[in-house]
Each structure stands twice: as structure tokens, then as C-alpha cells.
């Protein structure tokens, strides 16, 4: 049984069906990448996993327990499922340290001193310790994104969802952020990530899913998807990515 099971998930906004029955399994310690054009449903799928969006059909199981539908303790679920957004979404009125400490102290009930030590250790590990007292507005995009990753990690999630976390960054800042994700993958964190960084996906993913208009068109090991795509749409997508210099 896979750690995360997404079974035939459907999601609509009004008449527009964003996800048309998507099924993916993510094993423990596995890194799965979602690729596909903008609007193909990658972000929506990630937001369904931690229930920021309610699904309209199908179900999602984490560690064998259904997390979709009524009666699920969402706050409990979200402690286990970390998410990092494309636009960082740090809390602008709190220092970097407070951003990281907020959820552990408020939700997990860790005492202040312990939470601070842990937050500082995490910030240290991504090279942001000396910015602990700064406010998000004073940081570069890459620095903000590193803090956002640490903020999610502070809750010790069992799975991380990364939603195009380098898409808003200047090219020279992407590397630092990807290096952290690489390290997390190496440490065995289970991750489901949407990305436009094909080279990175090729490197860290054990499985790549190509989404097209809300459905998975092709799924398999990165070697197969990138070097020998079977579907015509996958081939077209990848050739356009190559033209833009991203692969």
C-alpha cells in the first residue's frame, strides 16, 4: 500500500472540470514530479491533497486513511502534509524566526524555547540563520522561499507538496532552492512536486507524471518520459520546453 494514494480524483470549478479523474500513488521516501503546461491541473491536484481544495469525486488516502470528504480533522491532516507555494506566502508581519515558530508553538504545542532552538537549527541548515530577525519584505525571493520550506519542515511533515516553488524566482536564485529540495530527497522525505524545472525533475524524481487538461496522459520513470515519451502531446510539450532552453 502506497503512502499517498490519489484515486480517480475529480475537481470542478462551476462547469469547468480541472481534474478529470487523476490517480497517482506515492510510496514512502519517493519523489514524484508533476509536469505539464500551466492550467493542466498540477497546482489544483496538490491543493486537493492537503484539502485546501475540496475534491468533487474520487478519494485521497494518506497512510491508508481517507482524508477527503466530510468529518476529517483537516488541521490534524495538514500537520502531516507540508506545502510550499510558488509565491512563498510568508507572513509579512512576522520576522523570519516567528514565521517558522508559529505553527509549532500554536498548533503542535511545542514550548517557545524548544521551538526557537529547532527553528534556528532549521534556518541554519538552509543558510538563513543570520536572517532570523529580518522581515520577509527585506529578503530576496530565493531567501523567502528557503524560509517557506523551513516553515513547512518545522511541523515535521510526513509528506511535502511543492507547488512550482522556483517558478517565481530569478534564474540565479533557483539553484539554492533546488539544492535544499535535493537534500530533502536524499534524506528520504516523501515529496510530490509540480515543477517546470525538467532537468531537476529528471534528476530527483523516481516517477514523473505528465498532466494534460486535468488528466494524466503519461506516467513513468523520468528516463522513459523525457527520453522516450509515448504520447504525442508529451512529445510536443517536451519539445517546446527544449526550445525555451529549460531542458
Amino acid at each position: 500500500m502506497a503512502f499517498l494514494e490519489i484515486k480517480d480524483v475529480r475537481k470542478s470549478y462551476g462547469d469547468f472540470e480541472v481534474l478529470k479523474g487523476v490517480s497517482i500513488n506515492v510510496e514512502r521516501h519517493e519523489v514524484v514530479c508533476l509536469i505539464g503546461a500551466s492550467g493542466s491541473g498540477k497546482s489544483t491536484l496538490l491543493r486537493c491533497v492537503n484539502q485546501l481544495e475540496e475534491v468533487n469525486g474520487g478519494e485521497i488516502l494518506i497512510d491508508g486513511d481517507t482524508v477527503t470528504g466530510a468529518g476529517v480533522d483537516l488541521n490534524r491532516l495538514r500537520r502531516d502534509v507540508g506545502i510550499v507555494f510558488q509565491s512563498y506566502n510568508l507572513f509579512p508581519h512576522m520576522s523570519v524566526l516567528k514565521n517558522v515558530m508559529l505553527a509549532p508553538t500554536m498548533v503542535a504545542g511545542v514550548n517557545g524555547k524548544e521551538a526557537k532552538e529547532k527553528a534556528m537549527a532549521l534556518l541554519e541548515s538552509v543558510g538563513m540563520a543570520e536572517k532570523a530577525g529580518s522581515y520577509p519584505d527585506m529578503l530576496s525571493g530565493g531567501q523567502q522561499q528557503r524560509v517557506a520550506i523551513v516553515r513547512a519542515l518545522a511541523m515535521e511533515p510526513r509528506i511535502m507538496l511543492l507547488d512550482e516553488i522556483t517558478a517565481a524566482l530569478d534564474p540565479e536564485l533557483v539553484g539554492d532552492v533546488l539544492e535544499i529540495v535535493r537534500q530533502l530527497a536524499h534524506d528520504g522525505l516523501t515529496m510530490l512536486l509540480a515543477t517546470h524545472e525538467m532537468g531537476f525533475a529528471k534528476e530527483v524524481a523516481s516517477k514523473v507524471c505528465f498532466l494534460e487538461q486535468g488528466a494524466i496522459l503519461e506516467m513513468g520513470p523520468p528516463k522513459d518520459i523525457f527520453e522516450n515519451p509515448q504520447e504525442e502531446r508529451t512529445q510536443q510539450f517536451l519539445s517546446r520546453v527544449v526550445k525555451s532552453g529549460r531542458l
Binding site: 485546501l52 483537516l74 502534509v81 507540508g82 507555494f85 507572513f91 508581519h93 498548533v107 503542535a108
Partner: protein
């Protein structure tokens, strides 16, 4: 991508002629005419001022000072003329770039002369307006002896305006919050309360404040006889609270709604509940945005305390209107206006300061 010949065609875009320096002399002449007209008006106004005060030394000095100030715009205008001369000299010598710069400086100077000249015309007109017809305007609105007679009672009355405004606003902040929370209750369970709060806000924003004051101050003692012993200013507080809570509820709601949904998404995805998200993430950010509009509502409330005069509550307008009928001049009412100006303008400036600070912070972010 292959290059596309034909997208850029040099032959369709001939090099433009170098632009000539702008005209200066005509602007300077116009500025001079305006300046002279302004000076003439101010001189006439100064004469009226002196006549009205029967040649009093102070009035003469003030008039003379205003005339002196009105002469100032002549100076930049003259510099504008010298810019015009320089421009034609340089242009004749073939120094196009230098001529353009001289012309730009000359126009700038002449424009300054023009702007100050127009201001002198406005001041001159105001002096004329205030003192014409043997000082009818001054007698009606600005009679100093009427001010000094009514001052001590007016300021006692104004004290009522201030405490009514402060007490009302404290109540408004609380009641408005209750309304705002009711309006934001989620789901079907909250629907009836949402509806009640929405209807309340719509109704009390639709009714003119003066109507609410009238209904409450005269109606409540008839309907609830135990309030007949109350100081009627308390009923004024009730009326203003009812009205302004509707506005303030809207400020609260809009402030919270202005925080981007991604902040809620970030907080909720960390496991924070709805109340925790409100407390730790939304409210602290929204408060900063709510302070300027709340202060604006507070300023409006202060001014609307004058509405209590319709119920003969002895606030500043009631008192000064009594003096008006006693002295046959509106000057005491002008005094009430001055009181409001004195307390309101610093607050308005403070709001501007907060708004600018916020804007600068966002631009700098």
C-alpha cells in the same frame, strides 16, 4: 525562431528633425500680465482692509505686507524674460542643445511667475470678497467682539461634542466588530445572522444621520419612558453609535477581505484553525490597513456631533446659534466652525501620513 524580414523597416521610419527649443517669450509676457493683475487686486484689497479698519496701523501693515508678497512673482517672470533672450542668442549662434536648455529653464521660471501670480489673484479676490460692501462679509462672519463674547460658552459646548464623539466611537468600535463578525459567519448555520447584520448595515447607512438622531433623541423617551430622566446627550450617543457602527462594520470586513487569500491558505496548510488564522495572521495585518479608514470615520463622527443641535442639546452649535440670535451676526457660528477645523485638520493630516507611510512601505517592498 527564424528572423522575420519586414517587421522592421528603416525606410518607413525616417530620422526626425532635431527638435527646436520651445517658445519662452510669449509665456513670460502672459506671466507678467497675470502678475500685474494680481498685484493690482492685492493693492485694492489692502486699501479696502485699511478703510474697513479706519486706517488702523495694524491693518495698514498687514495690507502693505500682502502687497510686498504679491510683488514676488515678478522676479521669476523677469528671469523668464532673460531666459528668452538667452534662447534666441544661442539659437542664432547655432548652439541648439544649449538653446533648448536655456528655453526650458526660462519656461520653468516664467511658469513659477505665472503660478504665484494666479495665487496673488485668488488672494486679492478673497480680500475683495471679504471686505466689499463696507465689510458686509467680515461683519457677518468674522466679528471679533462677537467671538470674544461667545467664546467661553462656545468652548463649554464644544466639550460636549468631544466627549460625545469619543464615547460614541468607543461603542462604535465594539458594536461594529460584533456586526462584522456576524456578517462573516460561515455556512448555512450563519446565514440568518449574516442576513440580519447585512440588513442592519444597509439600513443604517441609507438613513441620513440627522434622521436617526431625530428619531432616537425624540422618539426613545416617548417609547421607553425610563429614559426621560436621561441626559439627552446620551441618546445622541446612542443615535450616532447606531449610524456609525454600520460604517465601521464595513471597514472591519473590508480590511479582513483585503488580506490576500494566499495568507489564509498558508496559515491553514500549516494546521492553524480558522480562529487561530484570524488571530495570528489576518487580524494583525488587517488592523494596519483599517486604521486610516477608521480614523476617517472618527473624524466624520466628530463633525456629526453638531447634529445633536436639532435636539437642543447644549453642544457648540446650539450654543453659538443662541448667540447668533442674540447678537444678530453669524460670527459665533463661524467660531464653532473654527473649533471643528482646529481639531479635525491635524487628524486628517495624521491619516494622510499613515496612508503615505503604508504606500511607501509597499512601494519599497
Amino acid at each position: 525562431m527564424t528572423s522575420a524580414p519586414g517587421l522592421v523597416r528603416d525606410d518607413l521610419q525616417p530620422a526626425p528633425e532635431p527638435s527646436p527649443p520651445q517658445q519662452v517669450a510669449n509665456l513670460a509676457v502672459f506671466a507678467l500680465v497675470v502678475d500685474l493683475f494680481g498685484i493690482a487686486l492685492v493693492v485694492y484689497g489692502a486699501k479696502l482692509l485699511r478703510d474697513y479698519n479706519h486706517g488702523h496701523v495694524l491693518a495698514t501693515l498687514v495690507g502693505a505686507l500682502l502687497v510686498l508678497i504679491s510683488l514676488y512673482p515678478l522676479w521669476p517672470t523677469i528671469q523668464g524674460f532673460s531666459g528668452a533672450r538667452k534662447r534666441s542668442g544661442l539659437l542664432g549662434g547655432g548652439q541648439l542643445v544649449a538653446a533648448r536648455r536655456a528655453a526650458a529653464r526660462g519656461r520653468e521660471d516664467a511658469s513659477i511667475g505665472l503660478g504665484y501670480g494666479v495665487a496673488a489673484i485668488i488672494v486679492g479676490c478673497l480680500m475683495w470678497l471679504a471686505l466689499t460692501n463696507q465689510g458686509a462679509v467680515a461683519d457677518t462672519f468674522f466679528r471679533v467682539n462677537a467671538w470674544s463674547q461667545s467664546f467661553s460658552q462656545a468652548i463649554q459646548g464644544f466639550w460636549i461634542n468631544i466627549w460625545v464623539a469619543v464615547v460614541s466611537f468607543v461603542l462604535v468600535l465594539i458594536f461594529g466588530l460584533v456586526l462584522a463578525i456576524m456578517r462573516m459567519l460561515p455556512g448555512r448555520a450563519g446565514a440568518p445572522l449574516r442576513l440580519i447584520a447585512t440588513v442592519y448595515c444597509d439600513v443604517f447607512r441609507a438613513i441620513p444621520a440627522i434622521v436617526t438622531v431625530l428619531l432616537v433623541v425624540f422618539g426613545v423617551p416617548l417609547a421607553f419612558t425610563f429614559t426621560q430622566t436621561w441626559n439627552s446627550a446620551y441618546l445622541g450617543v446612542v443615535a450616532l453609535t447606531l449610524t456609525y457602527s454600520a460604517y465601521v462594520a464595513e471597514v472591519y470586513r473590508a480590511g479582513l477581505a483585503s488580506i490576500h487569500p494566499s495568507q489564509t491558505a498558508a496559515a491553514r496548510s500549516l494546521g492553524l484553525g480558522y480562529a487561530q488564522t484570524l488571530r495570528a495572521v489576518l487580524v494583525p495585518q488587517a488592523v494596519r490597513r483599517m486604521v486610516p479608514p477608521l480614523l476617517n470615520d472618527f473624524i466624520s463622527l466628530q463633525k456629526d456631533t453638531a447634529l445633536l443641535s436639532i435636539a437642543a442639546i447644549p453642544e457648540v452649535l446650539t450654543v453659538t446659534k443662541l448667540w447668533e440670535s442674540k447678537l444678530f451676526t453669524l460670527a459665533p457660528v463661524t467660531l464653532a466652525a473654527v473649533f471643528f477645523i482646529i481639531i479635525t485638520i491635524p487628524q486628517a493630516r495624521f491619516v494622510d501620513y499613515l496612508v503615505n507611510k503604508d504606500a511607501a512601505k509597499r512601494a519599497g517592498g
